[in-house]
């Protein structure tokens, strides 16, 4: 396949999204069909590109003589692109039904679709400059989505979001400049591009810059101490929190970190240094911190957001172990967590859509009234805990194995943190499940007699995601054999 198809895949949703306010889509169904059409076409295109991957990159334009905006899809990028392309059509289907009770639908779907293109841009970025460009764009196009309801709370949340994100990008910029100065090329090359001759005695500076750059990109991945924006951004409509704040945006942060760690700085130069240890401590702390905040949080969506904070750090933990096994676990968790968390968020969204209830303690007895939704939620909870037979166990197993093979004290602490976090996950997820199915003997079901499952547009994605969780959980080699090929190209 020719390489310019990649440009089409990125531009189609961006342009399509821009056009939404201009087109005469007056009826709601037209808007829905148009959006879904753009999204599905893009996804099909992305799958075609991944199957017949073009070998060469596509230079969109040159910034200066050395710097160019290049799209190039390698194996690592394909993982992220596949994930996004698979989830987006389902999330759009859900959003179409969900947005029925919100306003400004045209703006919403416009930016929602544009975000798709920008995320694909991150997946297909061929060098660090392109990555940085799309990364900044992602902040900007998702900002109106967070602000969508225009309540005081939403505006405040979006302000927090933009300060954090732009601040993070500024840190990441330092890393980019360093790579441009001391690297042999700006392109992503497996194993890193640093020119050791140029660095000479400045390894400590190199490590410091790496730490700064890691922290910068980790803002989007919500690592402690940069995690506060994510739960606040939960005021956005649920399709945004589910797809963007559990998958696209946050995993773009994790993906960018994989890029700088394995493709720019290179694990060779970083392994065993203070930078690795320092970042590992931060990541391990976040794993436990996110869960314990989630435990305390009575707001349903914010609780799930804190859980995302913790789970994103699972991925970063896999990356920072800098071993093939750890990276494999990171990739696996990137995919598995996407399915688990999007399911959980969609369930929370269904509750809000049907009843307007936001808090966990308002969910008594819902298990009987919303059977499909809460079945899916139970499965996602069990998967997040890492019950064998579901996808969460597969990724957790690989992450822990990667850490144990590393055989340092810190990596054993990391394994312990993973398990403590599993326990906390069990507590904050299963307490909801038990409440929903066992509201207590005296509970009066007539108070929630009008609660029902939403229609097929909102339950179909749930069912499909549940099936995927089981398939990956029961037959992991399906996924893992592909991913280990990807990891082989990185190391």
């Amino acid at each position: 396949m020719s390489s310019y198809f990649m440009l089409i895949a990125v531009l189609l949703p961006i342009v399509g999204g821009c056009l939404i306010p201009l087109l005469p889509l007056n009826k709601r169904s037209w808007l829905a069909i148009y959006t879904e059409f753009i999204v599905i076409t893009t996804s099909v295109l992305v799958f075609l590109i991944i199957v017949n991957r073009p070998d060469s990159g596509f230079v969109v334009f040159d910034l200066t003589k050395e710097l160019s905006i290049t799209l190039k899809l390698d194996e690592t990028g394909s993982v992220f692109a596949t994930l996004v392309a698979f989830l987006w059509p389902f999330a759009t289907l859900y959003a179409v039904e969900y947005m029925r009770h919100e306003t400004h639908e045209k703006t919403f779907f416009g930016f929602y679709t544009m975000t798709y293109g920008v995320t694909l841009g991150i997946a297909m970025a061929g060098n660090i400059v392109t990555l940085y460009l799309f990364y900044e764009m992602l902040t900007i196009v998702t900002l109106p989505l967070v602000m969508h309801t225009l309540t005081k709370e939403a505006i405040k949340a979006s302000r927090t979001y933009i300060y954090y994100s732009l601040g993070g990008a500024a840190f990441a910029f330092i890393g980019m400049v360093y790579i441009l100065k001391y690297g042999s090329t700006a392109d992503f090359v497996a194993g890193g591009v640093l020119d050791m001759a140029k660095i000479g005695n400045g390894t400590d500076l190199m490590l410091l810059v790496y730490v700064i750059c890691f922290c910068g990109f980790s803002v989007k991945a919500a690592m402690f101490p940069f995690s506060a924006w994510l739960p606040k951004a939960g005021v956005a409509p649920t399709p945004v929190t589910a797809l963007l704040h559990a998958v696209a945006v946050v995993k773009a942060g994790a993906f960018a970190i994989i890029r700088v760690t394995n493709f720019s700085f290179g694990t060779e130069a970083l392994k065993g240094t203070w930078a690795q240890n320092f970042l590992m401590v931060l990541v391990i702390f976040t794993i436990v911190y996110g869960c314990s905040r989630g435990l305390k949080e009575p707001h349903f969506k914010r609780r799930l957001a804190w859980s995302t904070v913790s789970n994103l750090s699972y991925i970063l933990f896999g990356v920072i172990t800098m071993s093939p096994m750890g990276l494999l676990g990171a990739f696996a968790h990137m995919i598995c967590h996407a399915f688990m968390k999007i399911t959980a968020f969609f369930c929370a969204g269904s509750v809000i859509y049907k009843t307007g209830r936001n808090y966990v303690y308002e969910l008594d007895g819902f298990g009987r009234k919303m059977p499909k939704t809460f079945f899916a939620f139970t499965i996602s909870g069990l998967a997040l805990m890492g019950v064998p037979g579901l996808c969460g166990f597969v990724s957790k197993w690989d992450l822990a194995k990667g850490a144990v093979t590393n055989n340092t004290v810190l990596s054993f602490v990391g394994v312990a943190a993973l398990l403590v976090s599993s326990l906390l996950t069990a507590i904050y997820m299963l307490s909801v499940v038990v409440r929903a199915y066992f509201p207590g003997k005296d509970f009066d079901y007539s108070t929630i007699s009008d609660v029902k499952d939403p229609n097929w547009m909102m339950t179909l994605p749930l069912i499909i995601f549940v099936v995927v969780m089981f398939v990956i959980g029961l037959n992991p080699s399906l996924l893992m054999s592909q991913l280990s090929e990807v990891v082989d190209t990185v190391f």
């Binding site: 009987r368 064998p388 037979g389 166990f393 197993w397 054993f412 599993s422 038990v434 066992f438 029961l474």
Partner: protein, 500 residues
């Protein structure tokens, strides 16, 4: 042909799920057909028949069928693997017998508890999971089923739906999960130092690697012991047991205390004797810590049971103490003591089951749950109290009951294991605990039959029905094992002989 191993597991899980679904549907629909509405009379009988079929197939498979099957792989080419060995046969036979008899008891008992189909649904599913657990051939399969067992059995604890039951259910769930994750931590490390994770009599440790990383391996084994010990109510994670077991309906408390705690024991045996090997931890701090925990638990459990006035809670504390007898026997890492442990697994299962069922019957017929209210209960419930006394004598360990035999083996094992002070201390604790056991079990009999002159109770003849009959059969079975112990002891010896 080897797929027959999966058959009983599948049947009971499938029927159980169907029952659960039908129970769920009857609540969500306003109008429902007769056979899925809650007043369908024969739920219990249908479950009993299903269970009987499953038990028959299970026992056939366990003793005469094929003994090995490899299913699909779960992680890293570690397959779901069932392998039936003698230890599995012992556990699965005890489980099946107890499960079937408690089901007979439950038919009448559960009528007044309500939500019958949910109960039987879970009851069947948990049976399937337990059979699979006993058949598990490697550590990953074991762990998978161990987690499933927790998740499915919690519904039985939650059954009453009261606030107390819900809190107890959550406590059960979270303690068990904490235990499971401790065990998982150990598994991650042990996996790196083993040739494979299949259960092999003796050990399959990669000794060169393991001795290089001896310290971390010991920590890992310690965590696995703590983790699996949680299910058996061993210190420091014992607190859930006296909360969770009594709130369940009596048939459920009986199987929880008799059988499900034993899966923790099975986990420990599999870890120590089938993966790591007893020689690896012999003489290390892990062994001493383990013995220490077990002995403290024995003593503390008996003490708390002695002070507890709510009958079912008292029995639950007794379980805490008694299961740690088994752990003590295993921790000595001695063939004789381990024989005692295996005998105690069987004896305690039967006896504790009969005790819990009699507690249930007392409450069922008189509504009394408090020990002090049981004065003169022998006048109206003679049969049940007699069966109870038979069981109690067995648990105390008066010869010729099964409790005596296991204790004899523990004591001689402790002396043989040659751990100086620890051996003597162990025997002393065993004796004190036996006294305490008598102190918390026998007063009920004594005051039940001889309430004293100033208590006036009208005597009533109690007929032997399906409920008291089950209790009687169990107590008599336990007694028979005590009188004719040789078949079981020989069987246990054969198992132990392969391990040392």
């Amino acid at each position: 042909m080897e797929y027959v191993i999966v058959l009983p597991i599948l049947i009971s899980v499938l029927i159980g799920v169907l029952l659960l679904i039908s129970s769920f549907v009857s609540h969500t629909r306003e109008k429902s057909k007769a056979f899925i509405s809650d007043n369908f009379k024969y739920t219990g009988v249908v479950s009993l028949i299903t269970l009987f079929v499953c038990v028959a197939i299970t026992l056939y498979v366990a003793w005469f069928g094929p003994d090995d099957i490899v299913l699909f792989s779960l992680v890293d080419d570690i397959p779901i693997h069932f392998h039936i060995d003698d230890l599995g046969r012992l556990f699965v036979t005890v489980t099946s017998i107890v499960w079937l008899m408690v089901c007979v008891y439950a038919i009448k008992y559960m009528k007044h508890e309500g939500e019958e189909r949910r109960f039987y649904g879970c009851y069947l599913i948990v049976y399937g999971v337990l059979v699979a657990l006993d058949f598990a051939g490697n550590l990953i399969t074991f762990y998978l089923l161990y987690e499933l067992m927790t998740i499915t059995s919690v519904v039985m604890v939650l059954h009453k739906g009261t606030k107390e039951a819900i809190m107890a259910g959550l406590k059960y769930l979270f303690y068990s999960m904490a235990g499971a994750y401790c065990a998982l931590f150990g598994m991650f490390v042990v996996y790196q130092h083993c040739h494979h994770l299949n259960f092999t009599a003796g050990a399959n440790l990669n000794e060169v690697l393991a001795s290089e990383n001896r310290e971390i391996m010991l920590v890992a084994v310690f965590f696995m012991l703590l983790g699996f010990g949680t299910k058996g109510g061993m210190l420091p994670f014992h607190a859930w047991l006296p909360t969770a077991h009594p709130v369940a309906p009596s048939p459920a408390s009986a199987v929880l205390s008799a059988i499900i705690v034993k899966s923790g024991v099975l986990g420990v045996i599999r870890t120590v004797y089938y993966v790591v090997g007893p020689d690896f931890i012999r003489g290390s701090w892990v062994q001493y810590a383990w013995i220490g925990f077990a002995l403290t638990t024995i003593f503390m459990g008996s003490m708390l049971a002695y002070r507890e006035k709510v009958f079912k809670k008292r029995l639950a504390y007794s379980t805490v103490s008694q299961v740690s007898y088994i752990f003590f026997g295993l921790a000595l890492l001695d063939p004789v003591a381990m024989t005692g442990s295996l005998v105690h697994v069987v004896g305690h299962a039967l006896i504790k089951c009969s005790l819990f069922l009699s507690a249930g019957l007392f409450a069922f017929k008189t509504g009394k749950t408090h020990v002090d209210d049981f004065i003169g209960i022998g006048k109206t419930m003679k049969v049940t109290l007699m069966a109870y006394t038979l069981g109690a004598l067995g648990l105390i360990g008066i010869p010729p009951t099964v409790g005596f035999i296991s204790k004899w083996y523990f004591a001689s094992g402790a002396l043989k294991a040659d751990l100086n002070v620890v051996s003597i201390l162990g025997i002393v604790v065993l004796l004190i605990s036996a006294l305490l056991t008598a102190g918390y079990l026998l007063p009920i009999t004594i005051r039940g039959f001889f309430p004293g002159k100033d208590v006036q109770i009208e005597e009533k003849e109690e007929k032997l029905d399906s409920m008291s009959g089950v209790i009687f059969i169990m107590a008599i079975l336990a007694l028979l094992i005590g009188i004719l112990p040789n078949p079981i002891i020989d069987f246990a010896r054969e198992i132990v002989a392969t391990l040392f």
